[in-house]
Symmetry: C2
Subunit: 576 residues, 2 copies
């Protein structure tokens, strides 16, 4: 990965540049955030010509390292107004790596109304008129591009919400099964739409294997690393069997499962949509309970959810989505939830934002509580077609709250709060409040230690230790997000002593360098500080590192916990 | 004015309190901003229980001083997220003064779905069920309340957009002709709606004349002051004859008349909607070319606009509204513009925000350019009924920009930019950028000196002197906004040496004090700094003191001027 593709959408050119020395040691989030911070004016309009959209595979992407196939996308987010990195599985990261593309930087925008397919191959990028694709949703775009090129073609695309620059729009990435993974959060699909890019196609047929400086060392470390994945109870057992949805029953038990737009912390019908139930349904119908989002995944936490006739409904059906629809929106039918998940893949909106905003719409009276059929209709016919109601909803949770004048609007920095109640799982509340990305559980997944007792235990209901926990996890996550690794490697990394050294050994063997554990921590700190500096320059202050006010005065049963951190306590996060 | 009415909407009580010593010398904006800054948590949700809505007449309101009948309303704004003061004519200010109410502070909120009429009289406030008024627009509310009490009853009310907490919703105030004036900007109608207040009725029959400490001194000063109003060409001639709409031709000539959503700085059809044309239409149809927004006004810049059958269409039909509809939305029929103005009065939305947002909706393709009939329909049937499209629009210009993913969105701090292009009238650009209120021409009306050559002349197209001009005017305006005076007294105050001393003499005579000119300047500075401190604590930074990016890269004809102030130059505003 030794070149930068710099694409200009105004004059439709692609310059192939050498990698600047300062970027050589970076990948994934570390690289996208560095480039956005260096090249995007923090106060620019996120949908204007001065924003840039950056794609970068991780440091280990393209190697045989397990779990290393994720791509980071970065830009100034139209949803949060701050910097954004969103990483996804699928096939594109490994294709980029094979083509030696360390990052692709997309600049400026074309004349309004022009739509392009960016065709990426070993020679650079060519620009194809995509007028005929305008108005298609993602599955059709993938089908058309596979037809145009071959079933092996890589595709990143947006649906109509992305074309219409709605702020919940994601960038969809074709996965190994011709289905969809997503750069979900922060409205990067709207940025892609603002640049007139309907899709990117990737032909890696002339690409090469990623070079590894010390193959023996790499192979040894990769083996240790993979063993750690398989040995840990979460990555070796819980996730492979039940998927991420294993968390429904666990969070319900903990009283941290936000129910009916965060009114309650547990839900009577939790078992109707739990991971255990989902596993039974998929097994009995003949779907797949195991599935990987990218080649080389050995956790296989994904699954293929089918109907009673064994017809595909959805895949990549995550806990956060099931929670959002099944619990927070009170949709008790897992089949309905699965169909809505599929619709969100197809139209191209973030399935977390999509689920959180529907609950707020239900609170506003727009959709009856628990009505899965109407939610599906709203996804396809309103958001998917960008009607006025669809625009209100498709612009995210905060937009719905504004449109209906509500105060119970679970967002931080404009981004919807995911599947863990911050009042009763306080460590995750610190992460939501402080993350440079807006409310984001993956930014510093305190659930590991608060609930799953991975990496020790910090009582989720007490304030003690949460800031430190969230800070340490956030620093580590920023570094992991730079490797191309999936975030679940954190579970073994926290508990199994030889896991993290093996990860560092793989990086060192790949590049012929000698990073230490301290270097990795410094990388994480550098990334967070770079992102925060961007946000500060964009106009963020401490007041943006706060949870919505209603968490302070509305106790959540069963623990009747409130959000009780002082501003000063929260701001301690940044003392590093 | 020696008492504070403190109203609690949760327990439906009104406490009558003494005026704290620190508030004794304050009125109008100085008092509302002081109270909001002291009592409202800056980071609270503007529609939540912790925001407060404050009404305060000016220091001279209730006296015979010309132009002194304006009321300030203040709160944390849902539109800007910062502090808000919006002042209006009408009858309520003088009624409050007669009842001795220095300020009314409305706290907390009732159970959702409950609606109240607050009846204010000499004994305090009583709370009447207003379920029967829910769903009525303003003119019907006024009619019902006049029927219930008497034609003399004072009324402040909200229409359906206010009930629905849309952020362009204003608070409408009955004027001496049973028509409507507005606390227009910043969405204070949404705050009133969030507190379950459909209307406030004011019975001042048991009120008393305002006491004046030194009647002779007051009388002498009032005479000098009134003479200055009549002697100045703007307040004695331009405004009384043509109304504020005299500005259309002037701004067109200056190349500072924003046309077609700020694409151009002058407009071919300007004369179709100019003040001169409007004067001729009103005269020929038998309307009134002169009209005051409150008793005691001697400028009479308002008018009553009638149709060909002499039937009332609208009044208080200001330049900014005519510009917004007639020029910026390209609606060439002044009758159409007048009917839309009336609709905005009736449904209760800010006519500046309303006009600016329609132009953005036209750019989005929602309404054809120049289509007055469709705009009128949209006002009544969409915004007025809070349909999904109506919510997008009724939440203001920024909301429309977000909903349709646009970059040419003329707002500062979320509030629509009014009728003067900041690229070609640079002093007003500094005011838009720096005002604590969001984009607001009245906050520091540089047009006086840039265009009308009042108070000297600063070349509108050059950067030199603009920051100082805007700063001085902003300080003076904050002080004037505390007196209950209309902002137009600034014209004679800037040019006629005896005008400002006479104003200060009136305040001194009223209260038996001895303010100096320096004291008034200090008052203005104190107010701006108090407001800025609130905004900073709410999360505003220098990045919020910026104009939209498109003004920097889109030159506006005919001068092809761009917004070219550096951030550092703008920030000089706050060096005082």
């Amino acid at each position: 990965m030794n070149r930068i593709f710099r694409v200009n959408m105004k004059d439709l050119t692609c310059k192939i540049e050498d990698v600047p020395e300062a970027w050589a040691g970076l990948g994934g989030r570390g690289l996208t955030s560095t480039i956005v911070a260096a090249e995007v004016p923090p106060t620019c309009h996120p949908l204007g010509p001065n924003n840039k959209l950056v794609f970068a595979p991780g440091l280990l992407t393209g190697t045989p390292a397990a779990q290393s196939g994720r791509m980071s996308a970065g830009a100034k987010s139209p949803l949060t107004g701050g910097i954004k990195e969103s990483n996804a599985g699928g096939t594109s990261a490994q294709q980029f790596a094979k083509l030696g593309i360390k990052a692709m930087i997309i600049e400026d925008k074309p004349e309004a109304g022009k739509w392009y397919e960016l065709h990426v191959n070993n020679d650079g990028v060519t620009f194809h008129d995509a007028s005929a694709l305008k108005g298609l949703q993602n599955f059709d775009v993938i089908a058309k591009m596979e037809e145009k090129y071959s079933p092996k073609i890589g595709v990143c695309s947006i649906g109509i919400p992305g074309e219409e620059r709605l702020m919940a729009a994601n960038i969809s990435v074709k996965d190994p099964d011709h289905k969809i993974r997503s750069h979900g959060r922060g409205g990067l699909g709207a940025v892609m739409g603002s640049k007139g890019i309907k899709c990117m196609t990737i032909d890696d047929s002339e690409g090469k294997r990623v070079e590894i400086a010390d193959k023996d060392k790499f192979r040894a470390a990769a083996k240790v690393f993979a063993k750690a994945m398989l040995d840990h109870p979460v990555t070796g057992e819980g996730l492979p069997i039940y998927g991420t949805n294993v968390l429904i029953n666990i969070l319900n038990e903990a009283g941290g499962l936000p129910t009916k737009n965060f009114m309650y912390g547990s839900c009577e019908h939790h078992d109707k949509v739990s991971g255990e139930t989902m596993h039974d349904i998929i097994s009995s119908r003949g779907g797949h309970t195991k599935h990987g989002c990218h080649a080389g995944c050995i956790i296989q936490c994904s699954q293929v959810y089918v109907d009673e006739n064994k017809e595909y409904i959805t895949s990549g059906f995550e806990y956060e989505t099931v929670w959002g629809l099944g619990i927070n929106c009170m949709i008790e039918s897992l089949d309905d939830c699965a169909r809505i998940d599929n619709a969100m893949d197809n139209i191209g909106i973030d399935s977390i934002e999509g689920a959180v905003l529907i609950a707020v719409a239900m609170e506003a009276g727009v959709i009856p509580w628990g009505d899965g059929k109407e939610t599906l209709r709203v996804m396809n016919e309103e958001i998917g077609k960008a009607t006025p109601l669809g625009r209100i909803l498709g612009n995210g949770t905060a937009s719905v709250g504004h449109a209906y004048g509500l105060t119970r609007v679970p967002v931080v920095k404009g981004q919807g709060i995911p599947a863990y109640d911050p009042r009763s799982v306080k460590g995750i509340g610190i992460t939501y409040a402080t993350s440079t990305m807006g409310a984001d559980h993956t930014a510093g997944y305190s659930i590991a230690t608060n609930i799953l007792q991975v990496g020790g235990h910090v009582d989720p209901l007490k304030k003690e230790g949460q800031v430190e926990l969230s800070r340490n996890l956030s620093i580590a996550t920023a570094a992991v997000d730079s490797t191309g690794m999936c975030i679940f490697i954190a579970f073994p990394a926290l508990d199994i002593p030889e896991c993290l050294p093996a990860l560092i050994d793989m990086i060192n063997a790949r590049y012929g360098i000698s990073l230490t554990g301290d270097d990795v921590v410094e990388l994480g700190k550098y990334i967070l500080k770079t992102e925060k500096a961007f946000n500060d320059a964009a106009g963020f202050t401490k007041a943006d590192d706060r949870l919505p006010e209603f968490f302070e005065y509305e106790p959540v049963p069963p623990h009747n916990a409130v959000w009780d951190f002082t501003p000063e306590e929260i701001d301690e996060f940044w003392n590093f």
